[in-house]
Symmetry: D3
Subunit: 248 residues, 6 copies
Amino acid sequence: MERIDRRSAEQLRHYTIHRHFQKYPAGSVLIEMGNTKVICAATVEDRVPFFLKGTGEGWVTAEYSLLPSATGVRTQREAVRGKQSGRTQEIERLIGRSLRSVVDTKAIGERTIMIDCDVIQADGGTRTASITGAFVALVEACSTFYEKGNIFPVKDFVSAISVGISHENEPILDLCYEEDSQAIVDMNVVMTGDGRFVEVQGTGEGRPFSHEEMVELLRLGEKGCRELISYQKDILGGQLVWLVGREG
Amino acid sequence: MERIDRRSAEQLRHYTIHRHFQKYPAGSVLIEMGNTKVICAATVEDRVPFFLKGTGEGWVTAEYSLLPSATGVRTQREAVRGKQSGRTQEIERLIGRSLRSVVDTKAIGERTIMIDCDVIQADGGTRTASITGAFVALVEACSTFYEKGNIFPVKDFVSAISVGISHENEPILDLCYEEDSQAIVDMNVVMTGDGRFVEVQGTGEGRPFSHEEMVELLRLGEKGCRELISYQKDILGGQLVWLVGREG
Amino acid sequence: MERIDRRSAEQLRHYTIHRHFQKYPAGSVLIEMGNTKVICAATVEDRVPFFLKGTGEGWVTAEYSLLPSATGVRTQREAVRGKQSGRTQEIERLIGRSLRSVVDTKAIGERTIMIDCDVIQADGGTRTASITGAFVALVEACSTFYEKGNIFPVKDFVSAISVGISHENEPILDLCYEEDSQAIVDMNVVMTGDGRFVEVQGTGEGRPFSHEEMVELLRLGEKGCRELISYQKDILGGQLVWLVGREG
Amino acid sequence: MERIDRRSAEQLRHYTIHRHFQKYPAGSVLIEMGNTKVICAATVEDRVPFFLKGTGEGWVTAEYSLLPSATGVRTQREAVRGKQSGRTQEIERLIGRSLRSVVDTKAIGERTIMIDCDVIQADGGTRTASITGAFVALVEACSTFYEKGNIFPVKDFVSAISVGISHENEPILDLCYEEDSQAIVDMNVVMTGDGRFVEVQGTGEGRPFSHEEMVELLRLGEKGCRELISYQKDILGGQLVWLVGREG
Amino acid sequence: MERIDRRSAEQLRHYTIHRHFQKYPAGSVLIEMGNTKVICAATVEDRVPFFLKGTGEGWVTAEYSLLPSATGVRTQREAVRGKQSGRTQEIERLIGRSLRSVVDTKAIGERTIMIDCDVIQADGGTRTASITGAFVALVEACSTFYEKGNIFPVKDFVSAISVGISHENEPILDLCYEEDSQAIVDMNVVMTGDGRFVEVQGTGEGRPFSHEEMVELLRLGEKGCRELISYQKDILGGQLVWLVGREG
Amino acid sequence: MERIDRRSAEQLRHYTIHRHFQKYPAGSVLIEMGNTKVICAATVEDRVPFFLKGTGEGWVTAEYSLLPSATGVRTQREAVRGKQSGRTQEIERLIGRSLRSVVDTKAIGERTIMIDCDVIQADGGTRTASITGAFVALVEACSTFYEKGNIFPVKDFVSAISVGISHENEPILDLCYEEDSQAIVDMNVVMTGDGRFVEVQGTGEGRPFSHEEMVELLRLGEKGCRELISYQKDILGGQLVWLVGREG
């Protein structure tokens, strides 16, 4: 089998994470996975949602948006429509849950870390790229208020990737938009540094899928996530990698 | 291990589906799973979304809502807030996708089948109960316009159930609200009559989960879905069961 | 004259009130008036609107909604439209005013009683059925926090019914949907246990109506309300009936 | 009994209707009832609502708004809040129904007459003043497209007034704001030129009201409406009065 | 050149300001510039926006609206559309900035002065008429809480006028709607009593404009503003004029 | 005088325009003016607004948005607030008018060119940078459908810059955020290739400004716009520059 962009079935697209992308946020990266490009920013705010006031605990939450010009056919601006779509909110909830799964909210203190994922160019896998990139921005942001001797708020690494079964019935890793739109099965896998799952969301778009296919897709997803976590470590560098999981 | 309501780990709650629950819609059932009660109605409309006009194809879509009085603490009415929550839209998209996975949209003709899932009482598992009940209403509705000799629009059975890992680290089937709010891992499984998956959505709420746990949860989910499909057949009766999957 | 459903002009439809219909709210009934079915729930909340804070007084307010599947032609969900219709708000204001007319807000204390009227099936007279049913849920709810020796917050009974002048120019009681849509004059009457009016809202849909017709319609409305209050007493039972109007 | 402004119980406030108040609309008046001042404009548009397209019939609909500066305490602008209140919509529906009760929608042809009632100063009775004034603007507007020999779209006169039972238990006519806010019973009466009712909306604000009180309030309302219709005739002048009720 | 209404190029339309136009607000005028008529009201509220709480400073802000019946073709009500248009908000911001430029917010104390400009009839120049009229209402309102010996919150006069280049390439003052809709260049000038500019907003509608044209338009605008300030003084009368600019 | 970033009073910040920034839109640039960075994209759509249907004419319109992470203090996402702010709409109207001033809408044919200006980083002058960058994207987009021998839809160059009077009373060119927030007078100037003005918007933030200051600011603005137009020509290159103003 040859894929659209000549990759093998188990190969990720070319990826880079560009750190310190913006001037103002505490953490900010540009992640590229092939033609998919997402700005992930992490802002630290000295307030928490109502249900956490006075508990000493913090919060991590995410927002996601597509630039109208990011897609093949221009996407209507949600601020003009007057509301976020269901798809947008579903993605925001997924990003938030994924990051919180490796965060010690007590160690954040009464702060909210706002994650903004703004897609500059969309060619499939924007939600998983958002998670992978946002993790790096999150570590950057936590390092700005971390004081030595304390627990570092980020306990483990987390990355995400899409897998699927192609229209030619082959399991493939990291689908681009064209592959995704033809795929029979589509799955997003979010994994931590210790090789366990945070989220598995599989959908049979064209037909249901068997237990065996499920297991094969999980294997592919694990492979992709592991490679991305390894890259996150390269990009963060020894000093920040050393902080992740610090217990004091 | 003994569960809150004395069930075994692999046991479903008491369930019933009450057919012809409302007077006006083409299909209408009340499904009860323990204390969870959902009215599922299917209305046939002679119009299709914009992107299907003139194609001869139909559509199935779903809406979901909680009565304010359905929950332990009263839920604010979404019509008063002025918009549906992200959670509501995520559930609506799941129900719609699950039903469409067993529907031949060409066989519907240029019609839309609106599925309304209105939760009268919520004690965990409302989205999976909605799918299981809505399937029965969908078959009822399709039978109202089906003409002998044609393909019946519903190709296979579909049911759904929640599974999870309890706070005592045990895999359990069909979580009630109290179990769900304490669960470490929470998963929804949607399965067809031929034993394949339509959707698998697993989330590590308390901690990530391993490959082995994933496999065990899938097994439990399959068991629950199979039992519910068997009950759907009892409830629909031979004449309607015979229609499902008819190819002319 | 024979009516659509063979009733006489002055006869109510078959009615029932089913108490303790839901598990969670302090009060909850299902009221049926012919094919019209409404769930009326009363929830007690330990907060009051802004203008009552610190006064020691409480509040009663109502919300009303139709399930989309409740009507002959499916009704669009207001949460999807993003706002409540004028009709919905008008009905909510009527239900709230009617109940408050028999409530001693001081005796409630700084609590809000939220009345939710959710119409499961609509065949005319949903607003009046809501008032009649909500009254029972309200008494149930007040009894949950009432302490002996105090004033009971509900001072008198209240019920409601529709009357009208049919397209055959006959005054009729308790119109079903088909009668209502053809009626020349349509009137809602809300009455207390002592036989006085709380609300009278009459509209000449087809033509104006004379002073004599007005008086005749009032007489019919009184008859209907009286019968319903008598039934409310049966349903509530001696113990709760004894509380209504208690002054300590 | 002496009223706040020295009127007798059965006396209207000083009233005037100023015709041709604005330059652009087909009909436009300023009505004053004491300190209550409302601009009522009628615009003719060559389109009808969806449900009337192709029927040859027309429509009359009304919108109502308070200038923020019209009330003792400034009222928040509904365009800023982003929606109309329930009260506003209830009033708009009342004005629309009242005017349509004297209109032959077939004689309008496929046109919509938009009635705009904008309250410049509010001192009680704004909805009834709106109806009384809007009637004059409506006749003006219909005369702009009326062609001799046809049926004139306005079949009869219509006016409206508020009545009530004061806090001193006296039935009174045409309540100003201060009287209205203290009234025990509040009623709006809309009457046609032939002395029949279009709308009767009575509410027991402070206590329920008896059958006898109801009858007395109707009598007062009729008296007020009759006087206002007589004034409408003066203001319209012979030529326009002659048109009302013309059948060709 | 002769203008539509026979004015000379440098002549204002007939203008009047009618003081004490409404009963309730602290300041209220009706300003007429030809057929353009605007009610400008100033309400004093004992609260300030969030960012001024506890500073002892006050605020002046403005809202603007067109009655639907104010324009040649009826304008849709913004409360019905559910939001203010961009044009409305742009005008509100302009009015607010213009008035604040002559206000000492410290001298207001912790109060907000709400300016409501409601256009009764629109024939061009509604935003500039709003500023000119609102200034008078603002002075009236400030005089209601001003205590002798203090700084008066209004430091100088301010007025506004439109200028433009006509479709016949002539610079003209105070454009009516018809002139405005054909103008090649359109400019609004806001000027203070000492002859300096607060706002200059020029737009080349039909073509760009040269430096020389810009200078000529500024000259015309100054002329118009000066005449209006002179009239504001006449209308306010000696006692209030004396207050403007008082420093104790 | 030395400015914050050591520029002279009449010096622009370092600027670049990066062409072909995104993959999908017909035109797309990244413009940087100092730390201000804006993505300007131009999409060609085969539809026109309602008022142009069937006229053969096209339209140019603009949307503007700040990424939440673009500003020193995070900006709330407008899609979450549910509406665009007044400031956003005012900027969108300015960008649209400025571009249309150099566009021959007939030469566009029945197409809409959507301009999206998304600010990645905001350090003052985002609206003027948007105009200057959007012009280049617009030319790129028009060249994609332009056919030789026709009129090219873009008739002249257009650029924009901010000028102001600093808190030290000096006229300065191209204000960064810190300068802007302290400026006494703030002005935006939009100019065409032939040296004429399209828009001049000056506001006295701290105090009114004199005729002489106005003239000096216009001179500075002209200087800045000229330099940017010269750079637009460099960036577009001979082939595209040659098209601008082509008449066939």
